[in-house]
């Protein structure tokens, strides 16, 4: 276990080196958040219908999305691992006395955490001070907030488990482009990154409920605003645990199969 922890620590320190990039990213995220909210405000102002989500809930959703962007977006990929697989350096990785699945997962986890730690505090401070209707609201209650933290972390594990599957698929395809693009496009929509899931048409919502993606973005953010009440959130957390077990189990099995027949080209 301590081996994995030190991988996390090393990666974390590595990620903290890019401070200027983080500040630049900050202004970009603020700007994008504002633009998205303005679009939602315009949509909401012109309608008299009753909607499944209130405007302030949507605003909070957008800001959480921007704050935790690097934690939850699926298409942030570590080209290093791709390089290892396609370049043959995987041989060194196999010599290490740690289990590969855990090792890589720890790497991915740490990278995402480091990115978010740098960015989340300043942007959070700013979005709580913005004028209405752009201001982010506080969590509905302490219970919601704690459940939000738990579900966010579990969501992170789901993301890592899904991205591990993408990396492992490279053992067969040898090129990361095609498969990843398709998954990235589909998952972004199905996770609720583009628009919140309650605003989608019924049929699409049904699709999102049977896939793992919505547990990474949509679920934790709606727990925060209380749109998903705490009692329901507890059930959701159980489902998250179920998905983590399934995805990680499948990933480990795939990796074992891949490694059994991997051929390392010399050189």
């Amino acid at each position: 276990m301590s081996a994995y922890l030190s991988v996390i620590r090393l990666r974390f320190i590595n990620g903290l080196q890019y401070r200027t990039a983080a500040i630049a990213g900050l202004s970009t995220q603020l700007f994008f958040g504002l633009i998205f909210i303005m679009v939602f405000v315009a949509f909401y102002s012109g309608t008299a219908k009753t909607l499944p989500m209130s405007l302030s809930e949507v605003v909070t959703y957008v800001w959480l999305q921007q704050i935790f962007l690097s934690l939850i977006m699926l298409w942030a990929r570590d080209n290093e691992i791709f390089g290892l697989i396609t370049g043959g350096n995987i041989a060194y990785e196999l010599c290490r006395p740690v289990q590969l699945y855990g090792f890589w997962s720890a790497k991915l986890l740490a990278q995402r955490l480091a990115n978010v730690v740098l960015r989340c505090l300043p942007i959070t401070a700013v979005v709580f001070l913005l004028p209405q209707p752009y201001r982010m609201s506080l969590p509905q209650s302490w219970t919601s907030f704690i459940l939000f933290l738990i579900s966010l972390l579990l969501g992170l594990l789901v993301v890592v488990a899904i991205s591990m599957l993408i990396y492992i698929s490279v053992f067969w395809t040898m090129s990361p482009t095609g498969s990843i693009m398709m998954i990235a496009v589909a998952s972004e929509l199905l996770a609720g990154m583009i628009i919140p899931i309650p605003l989608m048409p019924e049929w699409l919502q049904k699709i999102t409920f049977i896939l793992p993606f919505r547990w990474t973005v949509d679920f934790p953010f709606r727990v925060y605003s209380g749109h998903i009440p705490p009692a329901e959130a507890l059930w959701g957390i159980l489902i998250q645990l179920f998905w983590i077990a399934v995805l990680a189990g499948f990933g480990m099995w795939c990796l074992r199969t891949a490694l059994r027949k991997v051929v390392i080209q010399g050189g």
Partner: protein, 260 residues
Amino acid sequence: MTLYFKYLLILFKSQMQYRTSFWLLSFGQFFIPFSVFAGLYFMFERFGDLKGWTFYEVALCYGIVHMAFAISECFVRGFDAFSSLIVNGEFDRLLVRPRGTIVQVLGSKFEFTRFGRMLQGLVILFWALINLPVSWSLVKVITLVLMIAGGVIIFAGIYMLGATLCFWTVQGLEVVNVFTDGGREMAQYPLNIYAKWVTQFFTFIIPFGFVSYMPLMFILDRADGHPVLYMLMPFASVLFLLPCIAIWSIGVRHYRSTGS
């Protein structure tokens, strides 16, 4: 100009050496902005309209902006990827050649896989056009073409500004994305739905308003005024490009090689 086309041809040939990769990437580019458009579609399905704009009207706006963005990403990529020229010292080589820097930087890189994205913009554009009850005239067709061209010029100007910054910072800056990606995200909706400061900034500083919003009003018969006036509005983008070129040449004079 002939030099530019020679660059274009050579790089196209070299990219075509990896044919499968080229098609796969183009295919991917076709689908990447697709989820964004799907989101837009679902929003209209849920809300009905957007401050009086219908779905197809916004789709037309979206198609125009995305076409312009894809074309600029394809042909002005040299400026977008300029920081790499500075970092590895390639720019020194460009300076000793007896040709202008702008043509050479433009010719240093093209991203032909963006054709996929362009195609998507085109498909949506036509889909919107078929479903819109617009009475067409020659002036309107010219306006539409000029809108796309104007959009390309604006994006090109932004890329140049971003590249010029590299003379001082060496590294590319993510902030530039606010104006390229951010400009694209924003201009895909009609500008009047935004807060006033955004609208003003993107009309008078970066003239997206003159290129997309106002001519769009004319095409959709929402504006009164002389048609030719609206037709010529996209030329505001040239007014934006000129200072960008001026700043670029100042930057070139300040250039100090990284020595690598």
